[in-house]
Symmetry: C2
Subunit: 361 residues, 2 copies
């Protein structure tokens, strides 16, 4: 049987298929990671919503279930200084939703839980030695990057522009994810914060390929074999797929999220900051329509989410998605509804079939 012609990422990570299951904090489970890894792709465990103990436990489970290489993903933002005034403006903006939900807008709320990579997380990396460590929002401080590198892990991060890709290469990543505007979830942007100039996958991938010498992983709008084959044409050595894995039984998402994904079309999503304080793509819902999709009143990432939790919980209990972050990319409609292992294999086989059926005659 014919095989994928670009071996750079396969050799770098020690995997068989050029399919990276995207780490999706909250939604990706141990079972998803193991299924993608056992199928021959790269399973990616997200840590942003885990405690250090939680990550240790999850990694222990993954390592017990598969010998295949895995990726552990971390957010590398800097936690913002406390800004009680910004929090109060945000609470004031959300207060009418509290009132309509029969909740007290002045009740105390939990902090929002997305933890950046730090020395304690780094110890877990040193203990479990995942083959790949990926970051989102740039890279952590140099000493931590060096400690990760010392474990032998290959380091990856996302670029939303050529400038970010060049910066990542200069700062030591082994491969870069070119994340087009179609991608679901948090944008990886860290040098730019201008959403008006973010770049589509078709334009971004070849320009990143031309600007760096490390291998490029394409992400954004890829959910079937056609996208995988197209990414190869653009010069990518592999793809990262997120949204399509949200349709797998291994995904852990609220019912309102699954419902939104099931009916999402090409133009159902937008980039919004109202859920966390950083821009991310999700299915347009009430909070995005009424306060965004991009709002100047949202407090700094990741502190926006805590105040949303009570009204979100009430709405979800009533099967309403008004306040839920319905992360999704623009190609949800292309997703199949199979298990994560089958999805991983299918993406690859379908790409080969596309490559074979559309070759010059």
């Amino acid at each position: 049987m014919k095989r994928w012609p670009d071996r750079r990422i396969l050799d770098l990570f020690g995997i068989d298929l050029p399919i990276i299951q995207a780490p999706m904090a909250g939604a990706t489970t141990v079972d998803m990671v193991v299924a993608a890894a056992e199928a021959g792709g790269l399973g990616s465990l997200p840590s942003a919503q885990l405690s250090v103990a939680g990550l240790r436990e999850a990694l222990g489970e993954v390592r017990a279930l598969t010998k295949a290489p895995i990726n552990v993903n971390f957010f590398s933002h800097v936690s913002p200084p406390a800004d009680p005034a910004a929090q109060m403006r945000w609470r004031a903006l959300l207060a009418p939703y509290y009132v309509e939900s029969d909740l007290n807008p002045a009740e105390s709320v939990a902090g929002a839980g997305r933890a950046p990579f730090d020395a304690l997380f780094c110890e877990v990396v040193e203990e479990f030695r995942p083959e790949v460590v990926s970051f989102h929002f740039g890279l952590p401080e140099t000493t931590l990057v060096q400690r990760v590198k010392a474990t032998g892990a290959k380091i990856v991060s996302s670029a939303t522009t050529v400038a970010e890709a060049v910066w990542l290469e200069a700062n030591g990543v082994d491969a870069v994810i070119a994340m087009g505007i179609e991608a679901g979830g948090h944008r990886g942007n860290f040098l730019t914060h201008d959403m008006a100039t973010q770049v589509g996958t078709m334009a971004l991938v070849p320009q990143v390929v031309d600007a760096v010498s490390i291998p490029v992983i394409a992400a954004g709008g890829i959910a079937d074999g056609r996208g995988v084959a197209a990414a190869l044409m653009l010069g990518a050595a592999a793809v990262q797929v997120g949204t399509a894995y949200l349709f797998c039984p291994e995904a852990r998402i609220p019912a309102v999220h699954a419902d939104a994904l099931a009916s999402a079309g090409d133009d159902s999503t937008a980039i919004t900051n109202v859920f966390t304080g950083r821009p991310a793509r999700g299915v347009v819902n009430r909070l995005m329509r009424e306060l965004g999709p991009l709002s100047d009143t949202v407090p700094a990432f990741p502190t926006a989410g805590g105040v949303l939790a009570p009204i979100r919980a009430k709405a979800e209990a009533a099967s309403r998605n008004d306040f839920t972050n319905l992360w999704a990319g623009q190609a949800a409609r292309l997703a199949s509804r199979v298990g994560a292992a089958e999805l991983t294999r299918n993406l690859y086989q379908a790409a080969l079939d596309v490559l074979d059926s559309r070759k010059p005659v």
Copy 2:
């Protein structure tokens, strides 16, 4: 020599190469159309900035210079009713620029010149019988579409969403252009006006392919052979390329526009409505930064441009691009600097080379 495997657009239009030179009102010349057509692609003559007499003259020149099939493109917007109050708000917003340019903000200005397709333009189509007639912003009224069809012309229009593609097929187009968010110039959107939900080429093309039975032309972010090959993988039968043709000597653009294109990177552009009243992608400049990129104060398309003309002319005379619409897509950096005939052939040959070099092994 191996050839492009998808013959649907080639057979429909009677052309040799699956490369459509995009009609770019103002920038596309007779020479560009003839060069693209003679090279075997589809040369496209834009009419939006021509009078009926001007179109007749240009078409006469094109027909004298090539026997190859050609495309004539029209805008199919409806001219808005006069709105003097909106015009005055727009003039007030621009008044400080007039003052700094030593111009009188109250001086009378010309109307903005982008004419929609009408019965008089239709007579020119009936006279010259171009093989392809393409529209932007949907389609004109049914009786006009039927008159165009009666000439034997194949009809094409642009879709920025699946819903627009389905509408176009239902309303009789022979092929649809799936116009991703990367594309330069005016967005073709006509059912939606929400720029936050516009779709990237990678996600849009396969979803349009799945939704219609007519052949799909991919546009947006395609400026070299990699993009052409990727479009084929996504299911497109041909591509439409605009920005890359702006680098050809046959393009007629202001020097400030050529300079902006020459230094444009992946993230140099944004979608703005401040130049014409409709959203279009161009290199970010002063007017876009200071009033946009999307403004609620801009009057209806196409009436925004007239008031800009005097300050634009003064700025351009001083080699400043502050008020010039610097239309460009997100892949300007990928463009080569060759003649339009060579560009057309190169795009095709490079695509074949990419297809050949990245086939499964």
